[in-house]
């Protein structure tokens, strides 16, 4: 994996160093590293000639631009009304049981982080979750166990 500074300069080469390139650059870091460390944000600030506080202020606005260490696979369970009505809690309990972590936590091997998120837009196929960018819908405990087992083998 590229060192943060290498990654950042290559992203800046790709998207540009103007302010409007900031989100694509932050998203590019997330894709590689899953989160934005303090050092990364400072490095981006240098690369783009912006105050580091601006990078931090912008990044922390967006819920998918994580600034705490995340696992390799970030699981986001939809908690908005329909998913909540259709058994979201059972899905969470199943995952907590399988991975031995609670919501907001990361497994010790840094493979999984479990989070809740707002409406994913799959209310007609609730409950739904994202694992990184992949969508899984019409979940039940059994289905979730199957999905997670394939990730555990990865």
């Amino acid at each position: 994996m590229a060192q943060p500074s290498e990654l950042i300069s290559s992203l800046a080469d790709k998207y540009g160093r103007q302010r409007e390139s900031l989100l694509p650059i932050l998203q590019g870091v997330i894709k590689q590293e899953r989160y934005l460390s303090e050092e990364t944000m400072i490095a981006i600030a240098h690369e783009m000639n912006l105050p580091a506080a601006d990078i931090y202020g912008t990044a922390t606005f967006y819920s998918f631009l994580e600034y705490k260490k995340m696992g390799e696979y970030v699981i986001r369970i939809c908690k908005t009304i329909t998913c909540s009505m259709k058994g979201k809690n059972q899905i969470i309990l199943t995952i907590e049981d399988m991975l031995k972590i609670g919501v907001g936590e990361t497994t010790p091997d840094r493979k999984f982080t479990l989070l809740q998120t707002n409406c994913l837009g799959w209310c007609h196929k609730a409950p739904a979750m994202l694992i990184n960018d992949e969508v899984y819908t019409e979940l039940n405990p059994e289905k979730v166990r199957e999905i997670l087992s394939t990730y555990l083998k990865k």
Binding site: S21, L23, Q27, T80, I81, G121, C123, K125, D133
Partner: protein
């Protein structure tokens, strides 16, 4: 499908016509003013929820003088209970791209963007392929236009048009003061047409079949069809294209599970309608002569008698509390206070009369919040608290 009750089903949006090349090249030969008049006479209103007349938006942008103009497709579909835009982009992306190009032709824009919510990142690859094919054709017919996808990163507020532009410019997604409106100063402070995905798809129908075909559907002030995202306690959740103007009781007869207690129209920022008001409520834009008219981005969430309306409101308020951008005090603090307030009443820490104070607070938010998010929290809050007061207390 059979025509049941008063619901009029339609099939324009998802009909796969595979004639976009023809429609595009044909439309680009027409007079711009004629096209705008066609769009205005269709009376199409924005399908994202706010309902601004689309033709007028395009006209205003076309009249703005500037060195650069933009067309933005708002695919930041984040309203709870709404999932139609994703389906459009998956199934008929070329209708949307064609509509963007026609809009660019009419308004004088050269660049287009699709702001796609982060939750739909899995769509990006296929959508980009469609864009590549589309732009290749545009070059072929000598029409200069570009379309880029801009990915969101998980912020409901970026569906608000000026917040979306702030986000595209690399800032926190905080809504701007209006005016100026995007038609005069939008993305990069240049005149910008920003339309919801579905709105653009409807313009395709209008440019293909003519305004009259569209105008003849629906009812006065609410012309045409609309996609409805149906979820909750229903035997047939999904996406349905229906003519506007239907009564909610007809809708519930068709989509309910026989035990429908209430319907949330328009998502968390919309209104909850209790059973006793189904028959007097119509789905459409304001201005209808009789009954209550509820505009909507198309989210229809059904709740049956097993559901606690307190839990529903609690869920919405948690949502708003997290998604408020925090920029203006009425919304930032208001959402927190409302959320804590209903909990305190439910747990007996505050008297039932405290609900009246909270209702007053939502009124204040309606008048003083900077954007639609803070202003519309009052909709669901007051419609739930006023209609299901006992459930809030006991």
């Amino acid at each position: 499908m059979t025509r049941e009750y008063n619901l009029k089903r339609a099939d324009f949006i998802f009909r796969n016509e595979n004639d976009w090349e023809h429609i595009l090249s044909r439309t680009l030969k027409k007079d711009r003013r004629e096209l705008i008049n066609e769009l205005i006479s269709s009376e199409l209103k924005g399908r994202g929820g706010a309902g601004f007349p689309t033709g007028l938006k395009w006209k205003l942008t076309s009249e703005s003088e500037a060195p650069q103009k933009y067309v933005i497709c708002n695919a930041d579909e984040g309203e709870p209970g709404t999932f139609k835009d994703r389906e459009i982009l998956m199934k008929v992306p070329f209708k949307v791209l064609t509509a963007m190009a026609i809009c660019a032709y009419i308004t004088g824009a050269n660049n287009g963007f699709i702001y796609l919510r982060g939750e739909y990142k899995f769509l990006q690859h296929d959508l980009q392929k469609a864009i590549d094919e589309f732009i290749y054709y545009c070059n072929d017919i000598n029409f200069k236009f570009s379309i880029d996808i801009f990915m969101g990163s998980g912020a409901y507020i970026c569906g608000e048009e000026t917040a979306l532009m702030e986000s595209m410019e690399g800032f926190r997604g905080e809504p701007r003061n209006k005016p100026p409106f995007p038609t005069g100063q939008g993305y990069n402070r240049m005149p910008t047409v920003i339309n919801n995905v579905e709105t653009l798809a409807h313009t395709y129908t209008i440019f293909k079949h003519g305004a009259k075909k569209f105008y003849d559907l629906g009812v006065q002030f609410s012309r045409g069809t609309k996609l409805f995202s149906v979820s909750g306690d229903t035997p047939k959740p999904g996406i349905y294209e229906l003519e506007l103007g239907m009564s909610l009781s007809d809708f519930v007869n068709d989509f309910g599970d026989g035990d429908t207690k209430a319907v949330q129209v328009g998502g968390a920022s919309g209104f909850l309608v209790p059973r006793k008001k189904f028959s007097e409520t119509n789905i459409g834009y304001k201005g209808k002569l009789t009954g209550i008219s509820l505009p909507t981005g198309g989210s229809m969430m059904l709740f049956n008698s097993t559901r606690s309306m307190y839990n529903v409101l609690d869920n919405y308020l948690e949502f708003f509390r997290e998604e408020s951008c925090g920029q203006c005090t009425p919304c930032r603090v208001g959402c927190q206070q409302l959320h804590m307030g209903i909990k305190a009443v439910k747990q007996g820490q505050k008297p039932a009369s405290y609900l009246e104070k909270l209702l007053k607070l939502t009124e204040t938010m309606q008048y003083t919040a900077k954007c639609g998010l803070g202003q519309s929290v009052a909709n669901s809050f007051s419609s739930i608290v006023e209609n299901f007061r006992e459930e809030m207390i006991y």
